[in-house]
Symmetry: C3
């Protein structure tokens, strides 16, 4: 059997060689990055780069820095959290460029890429990061790479089903990103159940410094979440609302977390762990309705609700799931992504049903493309005037608000089905012995994978000195 020492490098080299060949065969520039696609009349100021780049950079900070620091919250698994987040984030983006390219951007056998593809790939990447949270510290680098390898295409297929086929409104991804990633991750961790960690693990905890760095990660995710949630919205007022709602939802959930976390402790002390997670739940919970006419107060309510359930989830549900359903969810993704994802999905449906069409004015079919009349039908109905008024209007499916709500419900179902099934299969694959799953005692520890400073973690070196005295 191949020694553990060779597995990670060989897998990485194999993946890179494979990806390189696929890049050679498939990847080329899109019309905004191809020099030959410009003419002497091209106004470079309108290059798509300038509309997307600021959002892209914010999302970059979230994925690589924010997530990374948050994943590094364990006292002895700081390198692991930060560096493995980096590893699978980078790989997921590379892989998603290809997979999403095959789904959406294939022209004459070539994938045409530009900045929008990078941004789209980071959405797939976020999904992998979220699922990774369920198995953080319990899986080898080889396992998490295989997880990313399987989750990226499954997410892409699910997103295609949900957003393209069913036409679900889900700009911030409550359904396609958070629900999917959460229940995929929980299924994986359920299959990888470790009876030996039933009573917890001595290293599954932060120390004072790692906790502050994880909080820094949360703060970075918090400040840039409006960019994440608005990136897929239509330009203009839709994107503007997405920023407002995300900010307001994050605000109310942060405040509420301080209250609930304090209430749940018998001495009234706040848990930084609650804050690191529940302060972000509002960003998840406004996801499906984020560009709709949710109203500021609606965003406020969704944020508060998400925080309440998220914090209660950490206190009561996670221990219950671990004990009775054998779901060991290291980062509590069910609390931050699962429950708030459901709140977001329902929030979207309620907003769709409760808002009168007039509230959207001329933008109704821009915000809800599937509610536009179908091309033929439009002509039959004599709605030619509409086409003249909005020349770029694309034919839709003529959905009513109730139709749209039904699609949203269907989307939730499809998403959960794909996530649970896909997660279970992935979990079984990850159990294959040559993927080098670490033994229980080496969980939550950098030592098996990283060279540690000789005067490593302060606590340890103190102990060593003391033994000598």
């Amino acid at each position: 059997m191949l020694s553990a020492r060779w597995r990670l490098p060989l897998l990485v080299v194999g993946l890179q060689v494979g990806l390189f060949v696929l890049f050679v065969l498939f990847v080329t520039y899109d019309e905004h990055s191809d020099a030959a696609g410009q003419t002497n009349l091209t106004d470079h100021a309108h290059n798509q780069l300038y509309a997307i780049f600021p959002l892209f950079q914010d999302v970059q900070v979230m994925i690589f820095v924010g997530f990374g620091l948050l994943m590094g919250f364990l006292k002895k698994y700081g390198y692991g959290g930060i560096a493995l987040n980096f590893l699978i984030a980078v790989f997921s983006v590379q892989w998603a460029l290809l997979v999403q390219g095959w789904f959406y951007h294939l022209h004459r056998g070539r994938i045409r890429i530009g900045i929008r593809n990078l941004l789209g790939a980071e959405t797939a990447c976020a999904t992998v990061m979220i699922s990774f949270g369920a198995v953080l510290g319990k899986t080898s680098p080889v396992q998490v790479l295989v997880l990313a390898l399987l989750e990226v295409p499954l997410f892409t297929a699910t997103e295609w089903l949900v957003v393209e086929l069913l036409g679900v409104k889900d700009v911030g991804g409550s359904v396609a990103i958070h629900l999917f990633a959460c229940y995929f991750g929980l299924s994986v961790t359920a299959v990888l159940y470790r009876p030996g960690l039933k009573g917890g693990h001595k290293d599954e905890a932060p120390d004072y410094h790692s906790d502050k760095l994880a909080m820094l990660g949360t703060l970075l995710l918090w400040v840039f979440w409006p960019s994440f949630n608005s990136a897929a919205a239509a330009r203009g007022d839709d994107q503007h609302r997405a920023v407002l709602h995300t900010y307001i939802g994050l605000s109310s959930c942060t405040m509420t977390t301080f209250a609930i976390s304090s209430l749940l402790d018998k001495r009234g002390k706040i848990s930084l762990g609650h804050l690191q997670n529940a302060a972000l739940a509002g960003g998840v919970a406004v996801g499906s309705a984020v560009d709709l006419m949710l109203t500021p107060a609606g965003a406020f309510a969704l944020g508060s609700l998400a925080s309440i359930f998220c914090t209660l989830g950490f206190r009561y549900l996670s221990p219950f799931l671990a004990k009775h359903l054998k779901i060991q969810d290291v980062c509590g993704i069910n609390n931050l992504h699962g429950i708030p994802g459901f709140i977001g999905a329902i929030g979207g449906i309620v907003t769709i049903l409760a808002t009168p069409d007039e509230a959207y004015g001329a933008g109704l079919y821009e915000t809800f493309p599937h509610r536009a009349p179908p091309p033929l039908q439009a002509t039959q109905r004599g709605e030619l005037g509409l086409a003249r008024l909005v020349p770029a209007l694309q034919g839709g499916a003529g959905r009513s608000a109730a139709d749209q709500a039904r699609s949203q419900l269907a989307g939730i179902g499809v998403c959960l089905g794909m996530a649970v099934l896909g997660g279970m299969v992935t979990g079984l694959v990850l159990k294959l012995p040559f993927l080098a799953q670490p033994e229980d005692e080496y969980c939550f520890n950098d030592d098996p994978y990283f060279q540690l400073p000789t005067e490593g973690e302060p606590k340890d070196s103190c102990k060593i000195v003391i033994k000598n005295c």
Copy 2:
């Protein structure tokens, strides 16, 4: 009497319920975020979002990440500094959206909000953060929330008096933000004087790690300060100058701080504490003149001056104030915001008086709206030509440069009066016993408010181990 354990959660829940009701009653979308406000002719690329969002995101990083890390500089109050900064920042923005809305954005009984309101609210928020620096670690979470509750409306009123009524030029906020926040905070801390901390407190100091994180906070504030100072400037060359002046002022004050800090130590050693604060003083000191024709050399001079006085203030003035005036200023806000605020205010006046009108060319009345001729007077004087040349010209107050300078002086006076009076009243309110002010020995310590990791702060755990050996 209500146990201390319930006070924070009940206050937070009460505030959130109250704010939610007010959001329901008052808050709606502005013309850039309301779907029904767009027509088929709206060019979404001109949505206000795109002009403001990059500045807003930079200010977000400053408020939540930069300030948070800087406030976390104390070795045992890292959670407190970072998390309470987060708490009151979030609350201040929520509250300021309403208060500033009632002052400035009320249309038919509804507050119309968009991204500009979020940015405006973060200005109020910055004021609260600054004042918080004076009482950091000596106040309970309940007290700081009450502080924010009182300071936000007082700041809004002061800003309205200074900027709207008196027409003070103060784009970077030397007067309305820094002077106000500083003397408000100092008045609060003077009222909350603790004789027991006269000789200092063993925990009122950083350790090696918290000092590096605080320095990271300073660096983030430093790099994004040009966005903060330019956010309120007129678009175009005004905003361009604001960026240049802020950068140059920060540069010269940083260099100067290295020199003065080294000079003040008898071994020539630099204080990281000086650097964390005085390296930012230039951003304060260019505040009032930041969009004027200050000249690059003028910004350079203001930055250097601010650093000299700021660093000397830490060395000599802060101990003097603590000893003789009973003003215990934990973060030294008098040095970073008070003195540089005065330098900035005077710098603004000198710039206004010393720059000939010709230097502003056609932009004179854009930079100084109150210097434009009053509408009627313009017609009388036969200046119709001007109105034809600059069609959007709004009538002003026909001020001369000297008039403008007098208004600036008046603004300083109003600001100081409001700050000192408001701060004293706030201090008295904070003394109310049910606000749970911590006892002296629990100051600068996370333990009363936060769940700490069992293997908490390295130093402590070492001591514990040693006792056993």
Copy 3:
């Protein structure tokens, strides 16, 4: 002889007074920041500020925060790394504003500055930071200031020779930034060779916390590198490609680093030090071809190559250079900037030679200004049609692709010559005794230059306690 205690403050004060005088004499606003440069027809939305500011802010984070944290990786030299990076970054920008102004922006005896000058100055600044990496912890603050004082004009002259005179395509700076800075820095450190550090130094290593902060620095450099590499590209598709290539190059080099680092350790353990550096090598290696039609697969290949050589360099070349060539390269800049710089330079040449002109379509002369026909020749050849098609076309040098490739080669030579000669002279100057070079035992230690917290670095205080028990 002047006591060491006075040298830094006096040098800083002297430099600041000198710079202030030069600012007064020379520096004024450019046409985008000067109020009098606007007319009533100026569209402020087209102010250059808005095209450059987002890139500028990203580069700011890289220089001050990213580089700072990365330089702070040593366990006892964290203040030094972060704060001295801050000191010389600020000074380099101030100084480069003047030096680059005299070279490029002098109009009637005045340097006209705007945001583009700040961005340009940060390029010079990056060069100083890179070179600083070679002597980190072995030089006094006085020495590094003198290094910056000398390197900034030398870099400016070199860049002028390479980019302006020879017309080298080098938008991401593989040649003019990375090769120059690296071999300048290596020459300096070779002259400053310390036989006493031949066997290493006990403090030349990170600890667990400093390593995580340095990794945070790397992540910030990683996410913002696309801004750095695209800042000097032509607007539109050129800038778009620069972003794509940088991102793809960074991705492949990051993945490859995980593999190679693991392969190089006999237990298969990954080195965080490798990751902190080699994960960035792809950004260097795409530098010269970053805006060309390199193809996504080309960027992928350059990134992988750079990582392989960078990681091998850390393992084999750096010890060899230290032992046999007396080049003690603290941060391994030869591995991150030297070797990948060569890969980038060659990558540029190959891309120029291998890409047919048709691939650039109408943008050929925009991407390669020196390949445009010379003004006179154009007329002679009857190419007036071209001038009509592209009215803004500036006459070039009529270069063929092979001509351009020859210029690139010449640029590499000029750059290396300037760097090695300039670095040796600078090294000799830094040896002057009054520059207060620290003794070997005080290297890599904050204590000589910074006030340390009384309960300083955790490890030390443990030892002290233990001695008592």
